[in-house]
Symmetry: C2
């Protein structure tokens, strides 16, 4: 785990979406948009509250994390005014939480950040939650 | 290479940004926002026209692609109205083009899609261009 500056923490907390890259055991990456909540230390993303074509356990991102816990998450917003571009990348390790206190706390954070999850009835009891523990922070800002 | 439907092609052509995941030989992914141009077959992204802290050759994404050509690119737009969410993911292979006809054609496409590159003097002659050849297309749309 790595300590995040308050500026990075605010940026991560404020953003609504990130893109998470996992990779399978053969090194094939897979990148997906995710909604996430940040508790000041780790990030959580629910994988089975939104409609999916398969069971959560079978989702490629979960399979990848079980094969290889190394992940990368980028948080950025695109703007055609490139002087406004910036990104934060978290290089870290992911694992899967399915129930318990950490699960409940993560669900609470997600429900409070995304009212959309309330209508979907995101469970505070059990489900499939990806936990991302940042180990390294990369930052970039357009410098003209 | 895989054939893309016209709907997917249009979606890819219209979007202004994608997030590209590469992975190094140890399976550590790295995901970055990229601007890209699509020629109907492959995608190109310039890596040295925007200010960077290091020489392009040394950039982690280029180093990763040289170690492991497998990449993943997601194209999506976030919306708090989740019924509007959709994404297209291209699983493919990347290589690096530094000069020649393909390079010139790619630079032309980028200059036409992003006027920002004109002010920066993106070269049509030589540079570092990532070429992504899609091999598999994944699509998702929110189904309520």
């Amino acid at each position: 785990m790595t300590a995040l500056t308050s500026e990075v923490s605010e940026f991560i907390t404020r953003a609504r979406v990130g893109r998470l890259a996992t990779a399978d055991a053969t090194g094939q990456p897979l990148v997906l948009p995710i909604c996430y909540a940040f508790d000041g230390r780790v990030l959580y993303s629910a994988v089975d509250a939104k409609p999916k074509r398969r069971a959560a356990d079978d989702l490629a991102r979960v399979r990848n994390i079980r094969e290889n816990p190394k992940v990368s998450l980028v948080i950025d917003e695109y703007d055609d005014d490139w002087s406004r571009l910036r990104w934060v990348i978290l290089q870290g390790l992911a694992d899967v939480v399915t129930t318990g206190e950490d699960f409940a706390a993560a669900a609470e954070l997600l429900l409070s950040k995304y009212p959309q999850y309330r209508a979907m009835g995101l469970s505070r009891e059990r489900g499939t939650m990806i936990r991302i523990t940042p180990q390294r922070v990369l930052r970039w800002q357009y410098a003209s």
